[in-house]
């Protein structure tokens, strides 16, 4: 069976679908799914032509029957975002744990606190407590996000619950990320006040090792974060928009 004459229409449709589904080409995933959709559409066209339809009208009917590209893209993005959201929640949890542990190590390696429990300045005490709370909350909320997105596979037969779990997992990831940034800022301020990152501190090797670990771990977090944000918004972030 020969391919339809106006294959450009089919390719235009797939191209629109690709742009609206993946704000940037993501992994071989995009190619695989597009190949699958192309196969479906070509099967449909071939079937209609075999049944006596003209190739052009067969193609038009196949595309109409497939659904508008923006709607199909929206439904696909909801499914495509799930594994990336799972990865993001796990990255938040693991990096939170690892980051917390290493910075505690830096504190232990640094100079002793220049105050006692009684003489600790109120401002420092306040930020100390805020940091403890934000750090713990970062991990708990990230764990909740991972749990929610992790259960979506098990509750596949309840579409509303599954969609709800995915929505709440995404929110929890944003909250965890915000709390994580707050904790990091608080920790930076605390280390400065404590003199841990002062020029004369003995904790510099530990600080540098921790900073290096943090920089190395950042792609684990920002990769899925960017993908999730782009699949959620349908827009390419950090870069020029793709040409249609």
């Amino acid at each position: 069976m020969t391919r339809p004459e106006s294959e450009s229409t089919l390719e235009d449709y797939l191209s629109r679908l690709q742009v609206q589904t993946w704000p940037r080409p993501i992994e071989p995933d995009a190619t695989d799914l597009l190949d699958e959709l192309r196969d479906h559409l070509l099967c449909d066209i071939e079937q209609q032509v075999t049944d006596g339809a003209q190739p052009r009208s067969a193609e038009a009917r196949a595309l109409a029957g497939f659904g508008p590209a923006d709607r199909v893209a929206g439904a696909l993005r909801v499914e495509l975002v799930r594994p990336h959201l799972h990865r993001l929640s796990l990255a938040l949890l693991l990096l939170g744990l690892a980051g917390g542990a290493t910075w505690v190590g830096v504190l232990l390696a640094g100079p002793a606190e220049p105050w006692t429990d009684r003489t600790e300045p109120r401002t420092i005490l306040f930020f100390d407590r805020v940091g403890e709370f934000a750090g713990t909350a970062t991990l708990l909320v990230a764990a909740l996000a991972a749990l929610l997105i992790g259960c979506t596979g098990r509750i596949w037969r309840y579409p509303r619950m599954r969609a709800g779990a995915q929505r709440w997992s995404l929110r929890a990831c944003w909250v965890s990320l915000t709390l994580g940034l707050l904790t990091t800022a608080q920790l930076g301020g605390y280390l400065l006040v404590r003199g841990v990152i002062a020029p004369t501190s003995l904790a510099w090797p530990a600080v540098l090792a921790t900073v290096a670990l943090t920089v190395a771990g950042a792609p684990l977090l920002f990769g899925p974060l960017r993908t999730v944000a782009e699949l959620q918004t349908g827009r390419r972030l950090l870069g020029p928009p793709r040409r249609r």
Binding site: M1, D32, L33, D35, E36, L37, R38, D39, H40, L42, C43, D44, E46, Q47, G65, F66, G67, R71, V72, A75, L76, V78, E79, L80, R82, P83, G153, R154, W156, R157, Y158, P159
Partner: protein, 116 residues
């Protein structure tokens, strides 16, 4: 029958369609139409998010094969998928029995006091 009416049932219908054996997306859709006498009228694009969901849940397995001059992805039920389909059937039978008992017109029972 439109997509709205099938919400919550599409995944089970897809599992049932794949019960007979592996099939690619177009064949799944064609089989769905054939077995429902054409009453299920879904946009084909809705099929792929659902297949992806089922695959992610471990209920079906997608395998690349070669079609007529192009790649083709076929799906088959996994053991978990068969068990899930079995459960779905049980749930559906209970649902039909319960709702049917209420919605079906009552059989002509003699009312109390009526002449026999």
């Amino acid at each position: 029958m439109r997509a709205e009416a099938l919400k919550g049932h599409l995944d089970a219908l897809l599992l049932a369609t794949l019960e007979a054996g592996p099939a690619h997306g177009f064949a799944v859709m064609a089989e769905l139409r054939r077995r429902t006498g054409g009453t299920v009228d879904l946009e084909s694009g809705t099929l792929y998010p659902a297949l992806r969901r089922l695959e992610e849940a471990g209920l079906i397995l997608g395998i690349w094969t070669s079609g007529p001059g192009r790649r083709r992805r076929e799906y088959q039920l996994t053991d978990r998928g068969r068990a899930a389909l079995h459960d779905e059937r049980g749930v559906w039978r209970d649902f039909v029995a319960t709702i049917g008992a209420l919605l079906e017109p009552p059989a002509a029972h003699p009312s109390p006091g009526s002449p026999i």
